[in-house]
Amino acid sequence: MEKRLTRYIWTHTRASQLWILLVVAVSMIPYFLSFDLPKQIVNGPIQGQGFEQPGATQTFMDISFSLPWLGEVALFSGFDLTRTQTLFALSMVFLMLVIINGLFKFYINTYKGRLGERLLRRIRFQLVDRILRFPPNQFKRMKGAEVSSMIKDEVEPLGGFTGDAFVQPALLGGQALTALIFILMQNLWLGLVAAVMVGIQAAVIPRMRRRLLVLGRERQITARELAGRVSEIVDGIGTIHAYDTSNYERADIASRLGRIFKIRYDLYQWKFLVKFLNNFLAQLTPFLFYCIGGYLALQGRLDIGQLIAVISAYKDLPGPLKELIDWDQARQDVQVKYTQVVEQFSAETTIDPAVQAIAIRDAGTLPVPLAAVNLSLADDSGAKLLERVSVQINPGETVAIVGGAAGGGDMLAEAFGRLTWPESGKVTAGGHDLLELPESVTGRGISYVSSDAYFFYGSLRDNLLYGLKHAPLKDAEYQGSSAAHRKWEIQEARLAGNPDYDVQADWIDYQAADATEARDLFTPVLSVLDTVQLSKDILDLALRSTISPDDHPGLAEGIVEMRHALRGELEEAGLSSLVVSFEPGAYNTEATVGENLLFGTAIGPALTGKAIGKNAYFRSVVGRSGLDRILFDMGYSIAENAVELFADLPPDHPFFQQLTFMSADDIPDYQLLLQRLKGRGFDAASEDDRSAIIQLSARYIEPRHRFGLLTEELMAKIVEVRGQFYDGMPPELRGAIERYDPEHFSASASLMDNILFGRISHKHTDGSKRIRSVVTSLLNTLGLIERVIDIGLDFNLGAGGRRLTAVQRQKLNLARALVRRSDYYIFNRPLPGLDHRLQDEIVRDVLKLVRRGDRDPAVIWVLSNTSLSHLFDRVLVFDKGFLAEDGTADALVNNNGIFKELVSS
């Protein structure tokens, strides 16, 4: 990128700048015409000049001018108008000029605005493009938030300046020069005085502005660092809380803000000082005119008329001059910003754009074999991490890399993955330098996975298929206005030097995933998810989510059918006691008393949460049946039990987890409540006390809490009241609750709840685990599993994938690579968070999976668990940056070398 902003602007907007200059020049004609017109109107028709005789007329629109050699040229001889007619005609001309001037202004402003916005788009894109082409080590020193604040905020004023970059100095300079020449023409000496003063202004003010520039640069850098620190606080919030360093962070931010304040305040002071000086210098000139010119006039050496003419001519000079100086200030300001940003975005080496050129059709295959040739790698400080390693990985080979912590094997894997660039030597593919091959070849031929996974904000599906999105393969179809819009997008992108690839197109390379289109993508994806043992997690995500039946036609019906199938399945497996179903006429012992009474999910505000206790209809039903008294007595016993059990425990005791119907803080309140009531019963209790007690009953589950309070009689009563509640329900409440209905899908409950339509018994520790496996196999047999997993794939991962656990992220990271067809898979300790048994299973399954179909890729796996080496054709042992041993696992064991030591330890 050019070092100077004006050059950059000129290079990219030359034609537009010239055009707008021309338009501005043309716009001057009506502008100056409109200056003269008011005088004509006042002097002519209003004051009567030229209309001295009654009935006198004047020629209007006489367009003629005299040219040298040609003499008088008359284009239109005009027509005669009376005084009133002339008044209206001239006023009309005035109105027309106003409109023309306005239109010119409108056109010029929009044109300049568009010019600026296009340039801003170009700069922003170029900056991001540079980021995409930076060498990997550049990112060790970059803070994301600082870079994004540069691209977002710091270049923004550049757009505003672009339109004025050339027009403004041309226009204002012209105006100032005209005024100065006019003065010079009136009186040479006074003119020279004015010129000298302008010269002083032009020399002194920019010099004083230098400090402003320094301060401006500081302001920019400190503000950018502030952005970086704020994002560090967000990213490191866990660490800050863990070490109680929040006040250190506060101090740091406060001191930064103090510095920024100081810089900005200095900036103001200087700015206004300069402004003051500038105004002073501008006013000094008329002072000299009055003082010296007046003296000379008194002496008789200067014509008074000339002096007045000079003074009146001078009033046109400071305006443009001031604006010109302001423009220069803006120019320097954006120049500083521009230089700053460009410096930040310059790197010694960047990836050649040709390496990243898009390959829409056939990218070509990766030349083989992959090899390190005399490869040395070093870290930022220059310490050697890998020394003069030469090794060749043949196609189809499976290679394990083992070694100690600083062995260097992981660095070799990074070099193969192009994450670390060689210090000396090189990595080659079929003899070509890997870094010079197009990324469309290396990025598809090689899949690299490490434990350091990054996920983009979006759904699980988007992230899983991310590695397939190399190029827009199938254009999106547009019709009508959207087609026109797409056309506009392409045109505008080209004008701003942006690529016009369509982000709405289908970018997924289905072939690379063993599919032909979106519909048959599921099977290969599922086998990958099974291999990394993630499908269960995704299924769980889906089962926990709620869906709208309208978005998934047919699924809701399938789920309802499945309820019956599940019953049968459980009975067959002798597990029918695992789930207690909801039955409209029966009490469900595994559900709370409240749930049994309501037998539905509250969906409106009238019956949700605390509101139900205040709902008049609900209270009348419960009160009429006398259930409120029974529940009160029951709640009283629960409170007694809870207080007896927990009164002595400190509030942070882990046992409180088990207390589901009240919190530790409630215990003292209930203690007081019990003392107040002293067993005097329902009638003596106040309204609030009653609801506090009855609340406890509502959350009671007999098999869980085991206080022995629920009798057959009471259960029957609750079911009876349930019936009354629904039978007599007023119409306005019908929308506020969704009743449990064995034949209907409930949109307010999760998929799992809809499938179970009941509660899992508390008697079995692994009840939910067992149910899950039954449900999974049933979903499989009913052919619903695809659709359910599909729902799980819609799960939004959150920022950086944080809504998944660390283990799930590692598995997804591995899956993302396995979905793609590659010639070389490089796994750099991809699963450190998993226990050994799981690692073992996944490594075996992955080695099997990558050979599916006709595939025979090479696999390079940096193992954290050396005992898995025997699963690979060949083992590379690294020690202290050197390749120490190379051979089959069996041969190396017999070698009595480092490998044997590693295996036996």
């Binding site: 059990l645 882990p654 046992f655 085991r706 206080f707 009798t711 008697k763």
Partner: protein
């Protein structure tokens, strides 16, 4: 499901009192222990936990029997039996190691499942339980030591 199948807290307290480990703990505390534990039941041949799992709970067997099995190259080997009213699975949560053996029921079994954090809290709150646990562990150690000595002398005589 009727009332008669639900075991009540007060019955559990009675059963807990018969467990030697808790015999010295006052009934109020036993009730608390029972309340905060999960009541679990197993059929014949089901596993309470598997060797290699992460230990998250200890079990007090209220009724029924189970075998303690250890994986070997020739398959699982039974090394001991769990009796009614005894505690099992406490090693994994005390030492933070994965399960050292598999416990598999030989009859229908009823147990109280005490979660790890609850169990540790119990030890700090009630020294009498801690002492009892130490006694159980020491007992097992002396048992193991004598078996080891026996095995060694057998191995030596076989040489």
């Amino acid at each position: 499901m009727g009332m008669e199948t639900v075991m009540l807290l007060k019955d559990e307290v009675q059963m807990l009192r018969r467990v030697p480990l808790f015999s010295n703990v006052e009934p109020g505390k036993l009730k608390l222990l029972a309340f905060t534990s999960d009541r679990v039941s197993y059929g014949v041949g089901e596993a309470l936990f598997h060797q290699g799992d992460i230990g998250d709970a200890a079990y007090v067997v209220l009724a029924g029997k189970a075998d303690i099995l250890v994986d070997s190259s020739t398959g699982p080997v039974k090394i001991a039996e769990v009796e009614t009213n005894s505690i099992v699975g406490e090693i994994a949560i005390l030492c933070d190691v994965s399960r050292t053996a598999t416990v598999q029921t030989t009859t229908a079994l009823e147990a109280l499942r005490i979660r790890k954090d609850h169990f540790l809290k119990l030890l700090t709150d009630f020294p009498e339980i801690t002492i009892e646990i130490m006694r159980v562990l020491a007992d097992r150690l002396s048992h193991t030591t004598s078996e080891l000595t026996e095995a060694r002398s057998r191995a030596r005589s076989a040489d």
